[in-house]
């Protein structure tokens, strides 16, 4: 069994990681982003997509370094703007499968405006948001998802702002598909990502991930295992949460699919615009 898993892992690495890219990667030992990378590759493999047709765009931060390792069409854009570039790529060539990977600061602070508008617009894109509740690369400053009261490099007296719930924000902004997973619940995460890529319309997969180096260390969870246990204990499935009282859910977060609804996607709507414009032109 173990041998089979090793062989499968080797196959995926050879198939999807860039051979000419100098490893080791930039992330800290034990970082959750590596788990997300593995999940993303397994999700894509399960869908049988052609690498030539895949685009992965990122912004800036630890998550921004993910695309360089995978053998797709990849782009490492400016801070917070991955979705704007992805929008242009998708509209210019709708046959491409376009995904973005962003961090919590990237997607909801500097890129917050693009994020809610991409959800509203419902372009057929997949947004993977790795939420580690901190700015990791710059040294542990608080982000829009840093919990109230916690410590960071810029909130040493305790954080006085309240956190965004990214997945809930995406639901309200109109995304077709919204899910939340963690780097602890990995088999479930593979499926959540695969479903998001498949889904027509804007898909958001928020992934709770560990930054023990910058967040955990300052908040009594100094190693990956402690943070993994925290994800295990705080995560509540969407169905179970529906039966719980608000007080019971205090400090916890839901995992699973928060929204999966059908709306016409932007590219199919725009095709109608083209037909209408041509029709009016011919009538002249």
């Amino acid at each position: 069994m173990e041998e089979k898993m090793m062989a499968e892992s080797a196959r995926l690495r050879h198939e999807y990681l860039r051979h000419d890219k100098k490893f080791p990667h930039v992330w800290c030992p034990g970082c959750g982003i590596g788990i997300v990378l593995g999940s993303l590759i397994r999700a894509i493999d399960s869908l049988g997509l052609d690498k030539d047709e895949l685009v992965l765009a990122s912004g800036i931060g630890c998550s921004g370094r993910l695309p360089v390792y995978v053998d797709f069409n990849t782009i490492h854009t400016t801070h917070g703007r991955a979705l704007t570039f992805a929008t242009g790529i998708k509209l210019a060539n709708p046959s491409l499968t376009v995904m973005t990977v962003m961090g919590d600061g990237d997607a909801t602070a500097i890129g917050g405006n693009h994020f809610i508008h991409a959800a509203r617009r419902n372009l057929n894109l997949t947004a993977i948001i790795i939420n580690n509740q901190i700015y990791g690369m710059t040294g542990g400053q608080y982000s829009p998802t840093t919990p109230y009261g916690s410590n960071s490099a810029t909130s040493v007296y305790g954080h006085i702002e309240h956190a965004f719930s990214i997945a809930e924000l995406a639901v309200t902004a109109g995304a077709s598909y919204v899910a939340r997973g963690t780097v602890y619940h990995v088999p479930a995460l593979d499926k959540l990502i695969a479903r998001g890529i498949e889904k027509e319309g804007f898909s958001v997969i928020e992934i709770m991930s560990n930054c023990h180096t910058q967040y955990g260390r300052r908040n009594k969870m100094p190693d990956p295992v402690t943070m993994m246990k925290w994800f295990r204990d705080q995560a509540v499935s969407v169905s179970r949460a529906a039966k719980m009282e608000a007080a019971e859910l205090e400090g916890k977060f839901t995992i699973g699919i928060l929204a999966d609804r059908d709306k016409p996607s932007y590219t199919s709507e725009y095709q109608h615009i083209r037909e209408q414009a041509l029709h009016q032109e011919k009538k002249k």
Binding site: R18, D20, K21, K22, K51, D52, E53, V55, A57, P67, V68, D71, F72, N73, T74, I75, H76, T77, T78, R81, T84, F85, A86, T87, G88, I89, K90, L91, A92, N93, S95, L96, N113, H114, H117, Y270, I273, R274, Q276, A277, L278, E281
Partner: protein, 379 residues
């Protein structure tokens, strides 16, 4: 392009002519955000692009507008955005991304008075240095200016061609007067245009190095989806497109960016000379001010003063040699601008020994032919 060739006569605004030029050049994608006095470009693109199979999208801000056009260009589609001062300021970071990734795209800035919200419905030329140096770090860039409706059409085609040929973002500086003036122009028949497209790789994908140097300094560009899977990054990168910290690779990369533009300098630099052959004094002008200057030198000639005009179309790279000739020949040169002297500094940088005079208006008003004429009389 010969404007007298057969075609359709149209009464157009400068902004409309930019749209016609962009479509003629093969532009099939526009993303932008409404702003006076550039909004007509977006409106007309939203009407016309879907008719030709192109795509228009109104984004949430100008940062998103330029992000989307860079993305579309990477997917192989010629792209345009248009804005004015405040929006142009917002675009600067992503403009640098287009520079470092050598992504062709065209950005129109219809200049208004500034800074900040400034004078939304009045012309200005305050963004010349911003167009050259607005994004951080060392980078080459091409900046073209338009002075009339015909220019707005023709120069937009040139802008796309230069952008594609050299893999560089090209900025078109218009101004509120050019943008909203209506003039009759002849749009030549489609077949008359030269349309330049970026060179695509011909090697098999496994041999493709997206940023490898060659004699032109312009590597062939594969689009996403072409089967040439590669990495694009705003970090300084090696020939594979991967981030590098190697000193030799960084230096070679940075220098190639400038070399490709130096190589193409004679093609990129565009100027128009009027009555310069025997001129003793000259005006160097661009944008709507060059229209007043043209009238002024004619008025001067009527008085027997040997005046000429060097009308700059390319502002950057600055047409140094052409300016040098004028400076060598004329005893005095006048540089009128709707700012406190931005191109006049460039002229001074190449100056030999001529006297350089300025007229500067910063009150949102056009510099009139009479003002220039009066100054010529004093020179």
């Amino acid at each position: 392009m010969d404007s007298k060739q057969s075609g359709t006569i149209s009464l157009l605004q400068g902004n409309e002519a930019i749209v016609k030029g962009a479509l003629a050049a093969g532009c099939r994608f526009f993303a932008g955000y409404p702003i006076t006095p550039a909004s007509e470009i977006a409106e007309l693109m939203s009407i016309n692009l879907p008719k030709v199979g192109g795509t228009f999208i109104q984004m949430e801000d100008e940062i998103a507008g330029i992000g989307a056009i860079i993305g579309a260009s990477l997917a192989g589609v010629k792209s345009l955005t248009a804005t004015s001062g405040p929006g142009f300021s917002l675009m600067q970071e992503n403009l640098g991304f287009a520079c470092i990734t050598e992504t062709p795209c065209v950005i129109v800035n219809v200049m208004r008075g500034g800074p900040s919200t400034g004078l939304p419905t009045s012309p200005g030329q305050g963004d010349v240095m911003q167009a050259r140096w607005g994004t951080h770090g060392i980078h080459p860039i091409v900046v073209l200016s338009v002075s009339s409706v015909l220019d707005s059409f023709e120069i937009t085609i040139h802008a796309f061609n230069i952008s594609e040929k050299y893999r560089i973002p090209v900025i078109i500086l218009s101004d509120e007067v050019v943008a909203h003036t209506r003039e009759s122009i002849t749009i030549p028949d489609q077949t008359g245009f030269e349309e330049v497209n970026r060179i695509k790789p011909s090697v098999p994908p496994e041999w493709y190095h997206p940023y490898e140097d060659n004699s032109r300094g312009v590597p062939p560009m594969a689009s996403f989806g072409d089967g040439y899977r590669h990495h694009v990054t705003g970090l300084v990168h090696d020939v594979h497109g991967y981030p590098t910290q190697r000193v030799d690779e960084i230096d070679a990369f940075q220098r190639r960016q400038f070399r490709k533009i130096t190589n193409g300098f004679y093609e990129i630099q565009m100027t128009k000379s009027t009555m310069l052959d025997d001129a003793e004094i000259a005006v160097i002008a661009y944008g709507s001010v060059s229209r007043s200057a043209l009238r002024a030198i004619k008025m001067a000639r009527e008085r027997g003063i040997k005046a000429g005009l060097l009308h700059l179309i390319t502002l950057f790279p600055f047409p140094r040699q052409t300016a040098e000739q004028v400076l060598r020949q004329c005893r005095a040169v006048l540089v009128p601008e709707m700012n406190l002297g931005q191109i006049s500094r460039e002229v001074k940088r190449v100056n030999l020994s001529s006297k350089i005079e300025k007229i500067n208006r910063i009150d949102g008003q056009l510099i009139t032919p009479e003002e220039i004429f009066k100054k010529l009389l004093e020179m």
